[in-house]
């Protein structure tokens, strides 16, 4: 409850800070300070210090899983703001509003990890989506940004319609919005319920950009200002996965046998399309968009059946994937050239950046000693435990092998190629920026060595 209420209030505070303060430095520091406060307040609730006791009529249900997930999302946003707050400043004039929208999205994240009613799920998805439409189009003079925003809005609105139809059908079949009641609903309206769950599955797959509902992703991620792509591809995507897994665990579990085929198809398609298309990209930004689709394919394994491995895995995956991708995007923002050639000779120019970038890329590829390895490991174990067939797991491992190719292309460019032209430059970086990146890399390595550290708070 702390997270939801305070993120909304902080959002309003940020909105007004733009009216009252003209100093960009002040606004930026205020946003970072409020973000830290939000993280602390959420951690306090995890320790049992909830500040609010409101009768929610069982529409929200706060579990330690959701709160730990909030902590991960807020910590990731905090690091993201530390790294990229200056780049947000470059996007446009409405600096305070961008921060306000980020806080509003975090309010949606808080609801997405704690909903217990389909109404709240809808509200969470909308609170997350609508500020994203604005952030995507925030670079008003850029035609690609406008196109991406419009495309995202139209497709998003359409998928919201599908989702509402699904919720309506589920309500028609069971007479309730409550997840607990849907799980134990009396049989009799199987067709309605199945249809509703299918539409809900489609809408959620769209939001996490799982194939075959991924077509908006590359264009939107490519067109949006790079700072906001970073936020969209990490924290938002992970939060929607948290909602997805909660939905699956409650509403889909009773009829899991009938979902296995559809889910298997979505996973195979997502892994295949994401990885294979990423191989052919010339722009690193676009490659990261496809890589995020491919990573979503792995995260989908957590839905396969309710097991502790799946839930722990999605926490670890969210943390590993968010940390690595935020780091890569922060470095990408310093590049003048977004193609692979832009990275040529980075190891000579900025050895620290090249080194941490290598760790992030290794983590995304799932190389041992990084968090990405255990994240993928947990996902596959969850799939095997819930009885997925072996060929699916083998296919996933093969796809991970393919992903090594395009991640290593960046490493190869950084270390083994020299910049051919002089105009390939890197924006000057401060020492603070480097220190934060090193801390981020250290977190990834530590999580790769001691993944259990993340789960200690989930059970007690």
């Amino acid at each position: 409850m702390n997270a939801i209420i305070f993120s909304a209030i902080f959002g309003v505070v940020m909105m007004f800070s733009g009216v009252f303060f003209s100093s960009k430095q002040l606004i930026r520091n205020l946003a970072i300070g409020l973000m830290a406060a939000l993280l602390v307040l959420n951690a306090a609730e995890l320790q049992g210090y909830g500040l609010f006791d409101i009768n929610l009529n069982n529409m929200l249900h706060f579990t330690s899983f959701g709160l730990v997930f909030n902590c991960i999302a807020f910590a990731a946003t905090f690091i993201y703001l530390l790294l990229s707050a200056r780049d947000i400043e470059q996007v446009g004039v409405n600096l305070a509003e961008y921060f306000a929208l980020i806080f509003f999205i975090l309010c949606g994240v808080g609801i997405a990890t704690s909903f217990n009613s389909l109404l709240m799920l809808f509200l969470a998805i909308e609170i997350i989506s609508i500020p994203l439409y604005i952030l995507t189009g925030s670079d008003k003079r850029n035609l690609k940004s406008n196109e991406a925003s419009l495309k995202y809005f139209l497709m998003g609105a359409f998928s919201t319609g599908i989702m509402l139809m699904g919720i309506a059908l589920i309500y028609g079949a069971t007479g309730t919005f409550s997840l607990d009641a849907i799980a134990t609903a009396t049989k009799g309206f199987e067709t309605l319920l199945t249809g509703g769950l299918l539409l809900l599955l489609i809408a959620m797959s769209f939001k996490v950009s799982a194939a075959p509902f991924h077509f908006w992703t590359p264009d939107v991620y490519d067109g949006a200002p790079t700072v906001f792509t970073s936020f969209m591809a990490t924290i938002v995507k992970a939060a929607i996965f948290a909602a997805f897994i909660k939905l699956f665990e409650k509403a889909y579990l009773p009829s899991v046998a009938s979902w296995k085929a559809a889910l298997t198809f979505i996973i195979v398609a997502t892994l295949f399309i994401g990885n294979i298309t990423a191989v052919f990209q010339q722009s690193v930004k676009r490659m990261l968009a496809y890589s995020s689709i491919a990573q979503a394919g792995f995260m989908l394994f957590a839905l396969f059946g309710y097991s502790d491995f799946g839930k722990e895995g999605i926490l670890l995956y969210a943390a590993a994937y968010s940390a690595a991708t935020i780091g890569i995007f922060a470095i990408l923002l310093k590049m003048s050239d977004y193609t692979f050639d832009g990275y040529n000779g980075l190891a000579k120019r900025e050895p620290v950046l090249a080194f941490v970038n290598t760790i992030f890329l290794l983590s995304l590829a799932g190389i041992p000693l990084t968090a990405g390895f255990f994240a993928k490991y947990y996902m596959l174990v969850a799939a095997v435990k819930s009885g997925a067939s072996l060929w699916l797991v083998i296919f996933a491992v093969l796809c991970a092998a393919v992903s090594v190719y395009y991640y290593f292309r960046v490493i190869q460019a950084m270390y083994f190629k020299t910049a051919t032209t002089e105009d390939v430059t890197t924006a000057p970086v401060t020492i603070n920026f480097k220190v934060i990146l090193i801390v981020l890399a250290a977190i990834i390595v530590l999580l790769g060595l001691f993944p259990h550290w993340l789960f200690t708070k989930v059970y007690f």
């Binding site: 309003v12 909105m15 007004f16 009216v19």
Partner: protein, 135 residues
């Protein structure tokens, strides 16, 4: 002979049954077919003598000039969308008004908070100068 005058042999005793609406259905079908036939016939038989004057858009007898798709000041849009926003707020008061007594003080404070947030938004748009007509 009864069917010609739409009289059934065994009259339906239940007035509200669907069968008693049969004459109305036949009337509707007849109306649609009749209009379609008449329009088709006039198009087919009637002479067509098109002149430039006749082909012009009819605008109540006034000569039309210019294009309707002209760029308009964004301020109209801004004011209109803000109006819609605050109009929607009013809609939320109706369910509250209906349940006014049952919700009691708790409901009152909830609505007060809602209005408070909205006033904050109103304050924000005024401070941002969204309602300033002159630049």
């Amino acid at each position: 002979m009864n069917w010609i005058f739409l009289q059934v042999k065994n009259p339906i005793t239940d007035v509200s049954s669907a069968g008693s609406y049969l004459p109305i259905a036949i009337q509707l079908i007849f109306a649609v077919l009749f209009i379609a036939a008449m329009m088709g016939l006039t198009h087919w038989l009637g002479p067509k003598r098109n002149t430039a004057d006749k082909l012009e858009n009819f605008a109540s007898g006034i000569e039309s000039h210019g294009d309707a798709r002209q760029p308009m000041a964004i301020k109209y849009f801004l004011v209109a969308i803000l109006f819609v926003l605050f109009d929607v707020e009013v809609i939320f008061f109706y369910p509250y008004a209906v349940n006014f007594r049952q919700l009691g003080w708790e409901g009152f404070f909830a609505v007060l908070m809602f209005v408070g947030f909205f006033l904050a938004g109103f304050f924000y748009i005024i401070k941002k100068g969204a309602l300033n007509w002159e630049d």
